[in-house]
């Protein structure tokens, strides 16, 4: 559900036409359309770089973690997970809200990682590293539309 759908759902729940606050939200969203598209494209083109560099910084900060114990499968799975989260952030940038991240990557995430025995605090650190690298890759204008979703990600773990 994109920001558009979200605003509509809210207006519909109130059983009235769009309020001026809702109108304003939509105007603001559409005004940043070009930036959103550029930011999403850059995240796609640089996923590898962000994950590789992110993992390095992560292991430096937090060496004692499943993906850093010489088990190649766990290392691979960890990096795959990171790539997936970068992808979900790119979806959010285009949707204008956190829903893609929440629906795809966060709803049920705690139960999953707890059951897998992957420590959430470590995941938190890893997500922080992804954000830092992304900030180097995106222009400040682009990072402005992407940052809230990286932050949501860090807060979620």
């Amino acid at each position: 559900m994109s920001l558009i759908a979200q605003v509509i759902a809210q207006s519909d729940a109130a059983e009235r036409f769009l309020s001026s606050a809702e109108i304003a939200k939509l105007e603001d969203f559409f005004s940043k359309g070009q930036i959103r598209i550029r930011a999403a494209q850059k995240l796609a083109d640089n996923e590898q770089k962000i994950v590789q560099e992110g993992s390095k910084r992560f292991w430096a900060k937090c060496p004692n973690t499943p993906s850093n114990k010489g088990n190649p499968q766990k290392t691979a799975l960890c990096q795959r997970d990171q790539g997936w989260y970068v992808r979900l952030v790119s979806y959010c940038v285009l949707a204008g809200n956190e829903k893609p991240l929440d629906d795809i990557g966060l709803n049920g995430m705690r139960e999953m990682y707890l059951s897998l025995g992957v420590p959430l605090p470590n995941l938190r650190v890893a997500m922080g590293c992804l954000k830092d690298v992304a900030a180097d890759v995106l222009s400040s204008e682009e990072m402005a539309v992407a940052a809230p979703y990286f932050d949501r990600l860090v807060r979620a773990f």
Partner: protein, 161 residues
Amino acid sequence: MKDTITSIINPADEKGSYLDASALDQLNRYFQSGSMRVKAAKTISSSASSIISKTVASSLLYGDITLPGGNMYPTRRYAACLRDLTYFLRYATYAMLAADVSILDERVLNGLKETYITLGVPIDRVIEALNTMKDVLTDSVGTEAGQELGVYLDHIIAGLS
């Protein structure tokens, strides 16, 4: 409800991939039409009741339908009719903003024709009113947005036909 953006993202996630060029291009066009859509929604929000009054007066009043035995008699039915037309206008506006008809299918058309038939609501007159509404709208939001709104009112008409 679905909306253009989500309908582009979900299939990409099913493949675990980023948006491809054509998808991004489609989004781009939608983003560019954004301000036109929002402007029309703004006008409609501020003049809905007069749009409805005009629609009713020039398509339904001063005939048998408002007399005893007619489906807009008594006041309860007259008001129900105003309410329905207001529903159609509101949901057509939503659909126009999302550039997606799914909300009409889910929230408006789902079971409506059957309800109207059961209650003896004359569907031809509903359609007449919806066609009138298209003209009333074009007068107030202009030709481009009027045409775009027409797409969704026509979708309702099709669903009732």
